[in-house]
């Protein structure tokens, strides 16, 4: 177990293993997202209340899932970095943050678009959308804090602490926003809480969620790999690697 953690901690080892994993996740992501959207957008039946506008959940729900999961994985990476001083964990956390913020934005934007036919307005203070908006601010805080330090080591630690503080707060924020929403009751129905959904509606949704997760893993692997090269540019193994690739190209 320990040996494994430390092996994982070595950027060189991670660079090698991620090269093997990455293509599989890309293939899975493309297959799942293409089939999920075709099924969801073209073949799944229209909703009896909302008609075709409900189909936006095939983007909204996976994005919202991912937005929360990425924050949690960012905090876990931060914890791993702080406790075991594994630098790859921090590189991955740094690469996840912008992706998480983007997913949060996608979730917010798709929610707003769905609001036009349903509520007749671009923005409603719906509990889910409000929590998402706060999550977006949390992401922006982590990104801004990381950018504010001149020393990268300090930036990494500060961002890790903030991500951990944030992740403890997310359930509290979510719970209090839900409570606040039920107290004020502004809108009658929300995007995703429906009593029953027929199989041909939710199955494409599951496929889309899986596709989004594969996409996230593939993209994070790819970005972490380039971050490894950037941060380890002065290391011997990177020089050897580049030399070998140049030779190969000849």
């Amino acid at each position: 177990m320990w040996a494994f953690i430390h092996k994982l901690g070595s950027p060189k080892w991670f660079y090698g293993i991620s090269a093997k994993l990455q293509p599989w996740f890309w293939v899975a992501a493309v297959l799942l997202i293409v089939s999920g959207s075709l099924w969801g957008l073209a073949f799944a039946p229209a909703d009896y209340q909302q008609g075709n506008s409900f189909r936006i959940i095939y983007v909204h729900v996976p994005a919202a899932f991912l937005a929360q999961s990425i924050f949690i994985s960012m905090a876990v990476s931060g914890l791993v970095f702080m406790v075991w001083k594994i630098k790859v964990a921090d590189m991955a956390a740094a690469m996840m943050a912008p992706l998480g913020a983007a997913m949060t934005f996608v979730a917010l934007f798709s929610g707003a678009v769905w609001g036009v036919p349903t509520w007749g307005t671009w923005w409603m203070w719906d509990a889910r959308l409000t929590s998402m908006l706060i999550l977006l601010f949390l992401y922006l805080g982590v990104i801004a804090l990381r950018g504010a330090f001149t020393s990268r080591d300090s930036a990494s630690r500060a961002a890790s602490v903030l991500a951990m503080v944030g992740v403890i707060n997310i359930p509290i924020i979510k719970y209090s926003v839900d409570w606040w929403y039920t107290l004020h009751q502004p809108a009658s129905f929300t995007l995703t809480s429906r009593p029953t959904m027929p199989t041909e509606m939710w199955l494409p949704l599951v496929i889309m969620v899986l596709g989004f997760y594969s996409f996230f893993i593939a993209l994070t692997l790819m970005r972490t790999r380039s971050e490894i090269l950037r941060r380890e540019a002065s290391k011997r193994w990177v020089h050897d690697l580049i030399k070998a690739q140049v030779e190969e190209a000849r």
Binding site: S151, R152, D153, R231, S234
Partner: protein, 206 residues
Amino acid sequence: MSLCLQARQLSCERDDRSLFKGLDLDIRSGEIVRIEGPNGSGKTTLLKILSGQLRDYQGELFWNGVAMRDAQEQFLANLLYLGHAPGIKSGLSALENLAWYQSLSGESGSESERLDALESVGLAGFEDVPAGQLSAGQQRRIALARLTLTPRALWVLDEPFTAIDRQGVADLERQLVVHAEAGGCVLVTTHHELTASPLLRRIALG
């Protein structure tokens, strides 16, 4: 009584810049150890590591043979560190500043001890003046009064001669020697040339 602070294979890397590598140090009672090196060679960083502030290093530290992470509290109880900034609150008087430093280690101390310590650094008559109204050199003298007020075995001093007049420098230098002779230990960086002494040892960085 003897004390020793040991470092084994100490390396520090800040933002991919290696400051020092594979450093072995043995600092014992009765020594004045001067860390030397050009600007940016990591003198302050080394002092911060050796005083337990910076934990971002490779290698091992031992305090009297015990690994540093297990000896943290006992180590800190015997450490007196003076950094670049004197650590003196401008809104408090010299006496109040010293009282806080005494209490930090868990002892309340007495007013007469503090008055004596201030007198010893030539600040008699300035006890109740807010430190903000004193000169930079006088503020540093308040910080130096801690050397007598709160006796500690290990002194880690980062540029202690800054802003001190010539007479003060000579006196402080003598105080370092007396401390080492009594079995204490001094770790110092300075651009000021220390008078040669059998107790003085130099460690070059960079």
